[in-house]
């Protein structure tokens, strides 16, 4: 097993439920395998660590062919909330944690969590907007320094 991955840095760039979970599952799974793991939240992915927003992450029902709902139906008021509700119920039954709980757990595993400076400036956020588990707001260059020697995964 000489080709073992020892370190991963995962970029979360989307703010939908299906955009956020994969990165969280991969970071948590990396730590469970004993790898070093960092999460870097950029653009709409910042919603995952935004105190007021991360409890209200939704599935997109428009422009999401995987949901198999016609675009016009998906665009009706309340459809996104409804789809999210069903997905959350299903996830709960499988003991998949909510996004806020999952982030706390991932932080406890020792994974690093960082927000992208360019996106933070773009949206006018400050460190106070983010959950306490966020280690720092960093530049892309600092991200590459952190990621050095490991694999980078963009989601």
């Amino acid at each position: 097993m000489g080709d073992r991955i020892e370190k991963v840095s995962i970029i979360v760039s989307k703010g939908s439920l299906d955009g956020i979970y994969p990165g969280l599952i991969m970071a948590n799974g990396a730590r469970a395998e004993g790898m070093e793991a960092n999460l870097f939240f950029t653009f709409f992915g910042l919603d995952a660590i935004h105190k007021k927003r991360h409890e209200h992450i939704k599935i997109s029902t428009v422009g999401n062919p995987g949901l198999h709902v016609p675009t016009l139906v998906g665009g009706l008021p309340g459809m996104s909330a409804l789809a999210t509700h069903f997905m959350e119920k299903k996830m709960d039954s499988l003991d998949i944690p909510s996004i806020p709980e999952f982030l706390e757990m991932i932080h406890d595993t020792g994974a690093g969590m960082y927000a992208c400076l360019a996106s933070v400036d773009l949206f006018g956020f400050t460190k106070d907007d983010f959950i306490e588990q966020v280690d720092d707001i960093i530049t892309v260059g600092e991200f590459y320094d952190l990621a050095a020697g490991g694999q980078i995964i963009f989601t």
Binding site: M1, R31, E33, G34, D95, P97, D108
Partner: protein, 105 residues
């Protein structure tokens, strides 16, 4: 099937070193297995986790994931990673002589 010598006994393991026959495991083997994983001495808290993992395996046929351990073993996720830095569910299963747990969360 690979085998290894532990405490004068030949035990069956898989390619990753997990026990194939958990009934071959003894508590003394756990001390030796822990050393192989870089844990010099097993503390009472390590043993809480190891016994919990064994019991879960005996009841359910599979070891718990880190999330399940954190919720039900009485040891928090943070402490679990301090006890088993290279992955609590995986290393505890290896040291406790049970197969590697399968689960994504």
């Amino acid at each position: 099937m690979p085998t290894k010598e532990l405490d004068g006994v030949t035990v069956e393991v898989n390619d990753e070193g997990f026990f194939v026959k958990p009934e071959q495991w003894t508590e003394h083997m756990a001390e030796l297995l822990a050393k192989e994983e870089g844990i010099d001495t097993l503390s009472p808290q390590h043993w809480t986790v190891l016994r919990f993992v064994r019991r879960e395996y005996e009841e359910k046929g599979t070891g718990p994931t880190v999330r399940a351990l954190g919720k039900t073993s009485g040891v928090s996720v943070k402490e679990l990673y301090e006890l088993f830095p290279k992955g609590p569910a995986k290393i505890a299963a290896k040291v406790a002589g049970i197969p590697k747990p399968r689960g994504c969360i």
